[in-house]
Structures are given as C-alpha cells and as structure tokens.
C-alpha cells in the first residue's frame, strides 16, 4: 500500500506539474488522485472508519480554506462589477501624469496592496488589461510593465493571511497545530505583524531596482502623455452605490478577519458571512455571482488536500521530514538554520512546481521536522521554536512563486493575457525578472527570519 500511495502521490504531482504537456487540467489530475487515494490508501489505513465515502471528503479536505477562498471570490467579484478596481488602476496612470516610470511604480504598489487583500489572480486580471492599454497609449512595450506586475502581485499577496493561497494553507494548518502552544498565533493579525514588514522591505527594494533598471529606457512624447490624462477614471465606476456598499462590506469582512481569533470564528465563516451580506445588500443575481466563483481552483484544492492526506497517512511525508531533520542536524545548534533551510527549499521548490501544490505537501513535512527537532511538549503541543519554520514556509512559498512562470497561478494568467494580445512572455524573458526577484526576496527574508528567531525564540 505504501508503494501504491507513493505512486499515486508522485503521479498526481507530476501530472499537475506537466499539465500543459499532457493536456490534462491540473484540477482533473488532483481529483483523480484524490479518488484513488480514497479508494486505496485512506480506506486501508482506516482514515475514514465509520464514515461514508462522501464524508471522507469532509474529513480530509480543509473546508475552512475552501470557504475562505469561495467567500472572498464572491465578495471581490461583486465589488469588481462596480468598477472600483479599474478606477484604481486608471487613477495610478493619471497620478503618474503619463510618465512611464512613475506610472509603473504606482501600478506596482497598487497591485501589491490589492493583492494583499484580494487573491492574486483576480488582482492581475484587473490590472493587466489597464496596464496593456496604458502601454499601448504610450506606445511602449508592455512586457516591462506586465512581468513586474506579476512579481508585485505575488510579493503583495505574501503580506496577509488572505493574500496568497500558500498563506491561507499555512495559516489554517498552523493554527490547528499550535492551538495548544501559548503565545503562538497564525491568525490574520499575526500574519500582518510577521509578514507585512518583510513585504514592505522587499517591495521597497523591488520597486527601487525596477526604477533603476528601466530608467532612461522609456521615453514618451507629450501627446502620448496627454492621451493618458484623457482617461476618465470616474467614468470607470459603473455603479457608485454598489461600490460603497461593497467597500463597506469588504471593510466589515477585513475587520472580522482581524478579530477572528478573539471571537473564535474561523476565517472561512467570516468570508462566507461577508459573501452572503454582499449578495443580499447588492441584490445580486446569485446564480450569476456563484457562476463567477473559480470552482476549478476550489476543486483543485479539495483534490490536492485528499492526495496529500493519503501521502501523510502512509508516512512518506513524515519520512521525508525525518530525513531532512537528519540532514540539518542538531536542533539546538541549528535554531537559525532550520527556518532558513525551510525558506530556501520552499522558495526553490515552490517556484519550480507551483506554490500551492508545494505548500500542501510541505506542511506535513514541516510538522514532522518540528517533531524531530523539538519533540512534543508535555501537553502534546508543538513547541514554540517550531513557529519560525511555518513563517519561513509561508515566505518561501509566496516569494518562490515568483521564480518561474509556473510558480504561481497569477504568473500564468498574465502570460496568457499577454499572449492573447500578441506579446509573448517566454520562460527566458520571465526568468530575467523572476529569478533575481525571487532570490533577492529570499535573501532579504533570510535576514528577516534570523531577526525573527533572535527576538522571538532566543536559545
């Protein structure tokens, strides 16, 4: 059964990694893998004893994550229809007074900020078309706008619990693992406290380098600048009432996230509450709103949760964890080394194989690593020292998503949009930007993790 489970796990991950080559959508592969796991490994290991096959899905998939994603999708789609995001993108272009570099800087900051609170794919879907328009009006090559925008989206998403799927996964799992460990939290506020500072640092460095690299390369005429100033951002808002109602509900939802650990309500419940409120308050066509939910993404998560649960059940992930622990060595001597190793391995592997798939598989490995290093406390709780490895995983997976075109979902979405507009972003073109950004941000994160360990868990 171990061989069978390992084969299902590896084949599913390979199918996901090579979805374009084998022409099988990654969601279909994840669902197929999950069904095979349920019929073999998870059945054999008694993981679903006393449960029907139907409730097995519920048992193995993390529905806090699924509902959090679904709820945010509904909220953002409803808000999107008001035109507010298009307004923001056009406003950035106009604030830059039609000058390419200031426009790019503002678009990057806006993308990062929006990504922190919306999912990255939605953000780039909103920003990329306006960016292409701005580049066309300025008669500039849009690639130096689009690739940095992808990178900014992945960087910005790192800042919050809801910004990037790896953070949602780390937050949900780590909250449960550290539930009995005092002074350790992986709630929305903790993510803001721990992740935002490094994101701000990385963003400042990133935007500065981009400005330096592109200075002098983007010259436009007064007429072209004037065309940008002709854009009427106010007209982009198609429904003011919906915009204000949507923004208020978004604010209420974000406040709910900030308070969720105090009021003991899971983020998934808060997101769905916000979604329900949005549907009621905007009198939205529910059928149409739900049709816009990215079901493909949700089912990908559900399938992958089960595949990873199967792999955990046969112990291959904990085995990998213990092997990694052996390689790293004595935990007391490597208080700094463990999170740094996690950060870099996560960064590179997430970039190579897609950060969501990687994070899901990495979580049980990190748990095993933590147990190997620090053992379980008297209450069975994971010791506080293991906390830094989870933050390192979140940073590594999110920053690593920038490494290659397949590192994160937003990368492929923008590449596809560029292609549809006759602008090819090849692997080579992408890597010129992605590689230095990913390694640069991982380097800055290394220093940040060391400071985190130094101040939080001194040995």
């Amino acid at each position: 059964m171990i061989i069978l489970g390992t084969a299902i796990f590896i084949l599913t991950y390979l199918a996901i990694a090579f979805e374009k080559k084998i022409k099988v959508d990654k969601t279909a592969s994840a669902l197929a893998g999950s069904v095979l796991m349920l019929l073999t490994v998870l059945k054999e290991h008694g993981q679903n004893t006393g449960h029907s096959q139907f409730s097995a899905w519920n048992q193995h998939a993390d529905f806090d994550v699924i509902f959090l994603l679904a709820g945010m999708m509904v909220i953002v789609n409803a808000l999107r229809e008001s035109g507010v995001f298009q307004y923001v993108a056009i406003k950035c272009a106009k604030l830059g007074r039609g000058r390419p570099l200031p426009i790019l800087a503002l678009l990057l900051v806006a993308t990062a900020v929006l990504s922190a609170f919306l999912d990255n794919v939605t953000t780039v879907l909103l920003m990329a078309p306006v960016t292409l328009l701005v580049a066309a009006e300025l008669k500039l090559n849009p690639i130096p706008f689009l690739i940095p925008e992808i990178l900014a989206s992945n960087l910005g998403g790192t800042a919050t619990l809801i910004g990037d799927p790896p953070n949602i996964l780390v937050g949900s799992t780590a909250s449960k693992i550290f539930a009995y460990t005092p002074n350790v939290n992986f709630d929305f506020v903790s993510f803001m406290k721990v992740m935002s500072p490094i994101v701000v640092i990385v963003m400042i460095a990133f935007v500065s380098v981009i400005m330096l690299v592109l200075r002098g390369n983007m010259n436009v005429t007064a007429e072209e600048r004037a065309r940008i100033m002709e854009l009427d951002e106010i007209a982009a808002i198609s429904d003011k009432t919906r915009m204000w109602v949507g923004l208020i509900i978004m604010l209420i939802t974000l406040s709910g996230f900030m308070l969720h650990s105090l009021i003991h309500v899971e983020p998934g419940v808060i997101a769905m509450g916000g979604a329900a409120l949005m549907l009621i308050a905007t009198r939205a066509d529910v059928e149409e709103s739900l049709a816009k939910v990215e079901w493909n993404t949700l089912f990908f998560f559900i399938g992958l949760f089960v595949v990873v649960k199967g792999a955990s059940a046969i112990g291959i992930l904990s085995f990998l964890g213990s092997k990694l622990a052996e390689m790293i060595g004595n935990p007391t001597a490597i208080a700094y080394i463990a999170p740094i190793v996690v950060l870099w391995i996560s960064g590179i592997l997430a970039g190579l194989m897609n950060n969501v798939s990687f994070t899901l598989a990495a979580l049980p490995i990190i748990e095993s690593l933590a147990e190997n290093f620090y053992g379980l406390g008297s209450t069975g709780a994971i010791p506080i020292q293991a906390e830094s490895m989870y933050w390192a995983l979140a940073m590594g997976a999110c920053f690593g998503g920038n490494l290659t075109p397949v590192g994160a979902a937003a990368n492929l979405v923008v590449i596809n949009i560029a292609e549809r507009n006759n602008k090819e972003i090849s692997w080579g073109k992408y890597l010129k930007w992605g590689l230095p950004t990913a390694f640069g941000s991982l380097l800055l994160a290394t220093g940040y993790i060391c400071l985190f360990v130094y101040f939080h868990h001194p040995y």
């Binding site: 999107r80 229809e81 298009q86 066309a136 009006e137 009427d232 507009n421």
Partner: protein, 299 residues
Amino acid sequence: MKLSNFISNQFVLTGASAKTLEGGKNQLVELFAKHTEYNTTDIIDAMTARENLGSTIIAPGIAFPHIRESFLKDFYVIIGCFPEGLPAKDHTEPVKLVVFYLVPEGKSNLYLRVMAAITRLLSKPDGIEKLIQQKSSNSLIDYIKKNDIPVGEIVTARDIMNTNYTFLESKATLREAADMFVSTNTADICVTDDSGNFLGTVTTGRLLKVGIPDYLLMMDNLSFLKTFEPFQDLLKKEQSMNVIDILKTDTPAFQPDTPMIQVAGKLVDGHNEFGVVLDGKKLIGTITKLDFIHKVVRV
C-alpha cells in the same frame, strides 16, 4: 400524404394573365371566394396586411403570398400560372407562378410541410416551367400526381431553411467578408472549402473583434475611454488576413431531416442566431431565428 391531395383543381388557374402582380393575386382571391363562403374583401385585406410586412416573392418569377387568419376553417392552396408574367414592383423579372396559401390558426406546420413539398416540386429539372405551361387545372394536378411529392409528417430543417444563402471560400480575405456583410446585410456568412464542404461561419462580431484589442474586451466597462480609436488593426489586416483565421466553428449544424423542434431548441437554448443545414458535409441551406418568425410565427 401526397402533395396532390392538398390541391383541389377548382383552386387552380392556368394560362391566366393580368397587368400586375396585384391583379394576378386578386384573380386567385376571386377564384377562391367563388368556391367558398369567404368574403373577397376579408381575404384581400389580410393579404395586403401580410404584404406590408415584406415581399412574398421568394425567388425570381415565383411568389408565395400567404395569410393566416382565425376566420379560415381549413387550409387551402391556390395556384395561379401566368405564362406571360406579372410585372412586380422592385423586381425586374415578372412573376409567372403565384401559389397562395390560406392558413387557419394552428395549421402553420401543415403550411410549412406543404410549402416545402411545393418547393421540392419546383426544384425538379424544369419544374417551374412545366408547371406554368400546363394548359388546364386537371393537367396541372396530373403533373403533380405524376411527380408523387410526399408531404412530410413533421416539419424539418429542410422545410424552413434558406437555400438562397451567401458564402465565402476559406481563402477569402476579411475585406471580402466585410464587403459581403455590407452588400447582403447579414451578420453571419458561411465559409466552405473548394468542394462546398462547410467549414464554419464568419460573423460581424468576429470581424470587428480583429479591430478591438483583447485587453479592452477583458474590461468590464469602457466608458472611461474616450479617445481610443478602434479598428485601426482591422483596416491594416483586412487584406492580409483570411476568413479562416477568424472562423467560428461551433455554429449549430443540422441534417435536412432534423425535426423543426430540435432546430428551434438548439437556436434558442444555445443563444445562436444562426444554424446551417448540411447534407453530409455539404452546405445546402441556412436557418436563422428570424426564419422561424417569418415562416412559423408570422405566416
């Protein structure tokens, strides 16, 4: 059921003549009124009202006037042959054959089936000429009997399709397509290969899309954009791009014997305005939603 069973020799006028098409049609109305209890004025009023909606000349030299009225108790077909021709307004070729259909409410399907059978009769080699040259009503009925045209049990795609469609070959340029859209005033043009096999359709939407960048179509709202000039790309590419490059390949396709309900269902449910009728792969006709309105809803 045979076509000859629907045509009574008392409702056939052969070797007739009149100065105008209107005059010819009035002769048919009088013939009909003479053998029935219906009032000539009622019939002419109904026919005029229908004519006001559009010409009923379906092909050069042939007119199919028709009325659908609740006062009609049965379905009637009246045939008038005018060998010398009837001058018709806006048509260069005089009308030599007038087939007048009087349809009671609820008999639209029968009308379509009979009309399709008559069309099949006329499409035989020299079918129109032979019919027009008949010397008497009895010989005309005999001619129809001899040809043994069946009236189908159900209305099929063949019965409602347009055979007078426009098409382009796959090598045609976008410019040719644009010209054809303008000259024919249609929104869909069929595209075929050299052998007449159907490949797909080119639509006005697809043509215009060439001139609008994809990123603009991704935006929810373009009201913020006032100075952007679309279609520059289209004007640049209209001679270098072929219709095959913008081909729509999911146009609903039907076989000639596909029942009308299935055709209607596909066009209505699938939000398609246009379908094609194929004999194997060969294009033999087109059907639009408007055809249903013209031929079924508003007979």
